[in-house]
Symmetry: C2
Subunit: 300 residues, 2 copies
């Protein structure tokens, strides 16, 4: 009999296994899917052992808490949306397994809380066990989204595009791009834990793809975890949104087809009603509407 | 008699005075110019007291050293280009004062080493006296470039642009923009200590300006300190350049008119000879050719 792995080691170990699986088999492989589920489970089981503390929420209509860390070497977790976090680990795993198996609940809202909980699992667990690691939560979230989209689209993603020009071949590293074959749009899928001022690069890369390959060839789909911002001074949490800037990018740089959130800010939802009509939705919606994004004939 | 300020305190104190001057009087004011010269002098006089150590240079044709710090709380300075760093502090100050007074040496190369030395002064001094401060060196460099360009163009910069659209006014925060009056191009002047993967935002903002106000209304002028990258393991320094990506941005996002460097990477100089012919030059050149950038009639 081997000693079971201590719970607080499981986020790190399962993430490590996930990184190996995606490196060896690629995002979208069944091996990566299995490792992803193990990592989500490992993180949630660890988080379930921690104390929680409510934050002062400055976001109307949303409540947040943190997982507390009583070890002074590390901080508390990032803010967790109390309305969407699901304490039933088996339910979360079953819902994510369902996406990987192509089985969805009838109502996207039923999927949404599982997606939110899975997405925040490793980032929250890392916050309380590792100091100053911003990179691995970002990579985890990218793999989670990439894996689910890849299985759904039945296509493994690439991370660069090449364009032959009159003089040379120009190659550009990108976020995930999915080639769905002749007659269907390709998907340009940037994935960010939050956007802040760097988000303009999403529209810029979309513009490069439009210029290289023609407008409409790549459908731009941005997926974001949350826009929450914690202030430790007063233990509060707020959302940082820049809808005016997004409007300018959507008008003047390129047109993103969708922005999906795990924890969707109300300020961005309204962008669908004003020119240039950017649709910002919960990520669960993607799994119900992806066919209209990739099949120009079924375009909305 | 008051005790003179210890030399190692002068970078911090003179930077603080510079920040106050720019906040109160704006970049381009004579007060900011005076404070800038004080800060450059304070930093160079402090650096002159430090030991130096040569780095292993992996950049063909360039030698680098660091200012050493024997205090374990702080690191050594960033790599300093030995060929361009000027030990004659009075000469550096006189050359920068010359720009502020509208007096230039006949040969741009004579100005270049003064500009390089002034630009690296505060960043290097901060490296060895403050841990983990990346922000203030960036702000210093932005103020240095902004001040010299502002005085040269006889125009104080703004940091946002507004565009009336059919529905609303869209406002976008930007890097420096200079309004030179009717009949002359405006200047969009992003300033970066290095570019790395974030530089695409420069082209993206240029695209927004082109879209808002028409192509050619704003001339894009990017100013960069250096692209050096230190590896502490083997005490070496290299340059990180992505000319293929810049080519893609220049072809498909927007057209920057110039990129100026303090420590210019050879790999970018060659971009002027291949489509889309991006001119990358030493920053000193700006002061000799700026009229051709802002006067469409004298366009090259």
């Amino acid at each position: 009999m081997t000693t079971p792995t201590p719970l607080d080691q499981r986020p790190k170990l399962t993430y490590h296994a996930l990184a190996i699986a995606t490196k060896k088999h690629g995002v979208g492989s069944s091996e990566s899917g299995d490792a992803l589920l193990e990592c989500v489970r490992g993180c949630l089981e660890f988080l379930a052992t921690l104390d929680r503390r409510d934050l002062v929420s400055k976001v109307p209509g949303k409540e947040y808490f943190v997982f507390e860390n009583h070890n002074p070497r590390f901080s508390d977790s990032r803010g967790i949306n109390a309305g969407w976090f699901n304490d039933d680990i088996d339910e979360v795993i079953a819902a994510i397994q369902g996406i990987l198996d192509g089985v969805l609940p009838d109502d996207p809202n039923d999927l949404h809380s599982a997606l939110y909980t899975a997405a925040i699992s490793y980032p929250a667990a890392t916050d309380v066990t590792k100091a100053g690691d911003q990179k691995s939560p970002g990579t985890f979230f990218e793999v989670l989204v990439g894996q689910l989209v890849s299985v759904t689209l039945d296509s493994q993603p690439a991370k660069s595009v090449a364009a032959p020009t009159l003089d040379m071949v120009v190659t550009l590293p990108t976020d995930f791009v999915f080639d769905l074959g002749a007659g269907r749009s390709r998907i340009h899928l940037p994935v960010k834990t939050s956007t802040r001022e760097r988000v303009v690069q999403v529209w810029a890369h979309q513009r490069v793809l439009d210029g290289m390959h023609g407008v409409g060839r790549f459908q731009g789909v941005l997926v974001v975890l949350a826009e929450t911002n914690r202030k430790t001074q007063d233990d509060s949490i707020s959302e940082v949104c820049l809808p005016g800037q997004w409007t300018a990018y959507q008008m003047y740089i390129a047109q993103m087809r969708r922005v999906y959130y795990m924890d969707i800010p109300d300020k961005y939802v309204g962008l669908k009603d004003i020119y240039p009509f950017l649709q910002v939705k919960a990520f669960a919606e993607f799994f119900y509407e992806w066919e209209s994004l990739v099949n120009p004939a079924k375009d909305d």
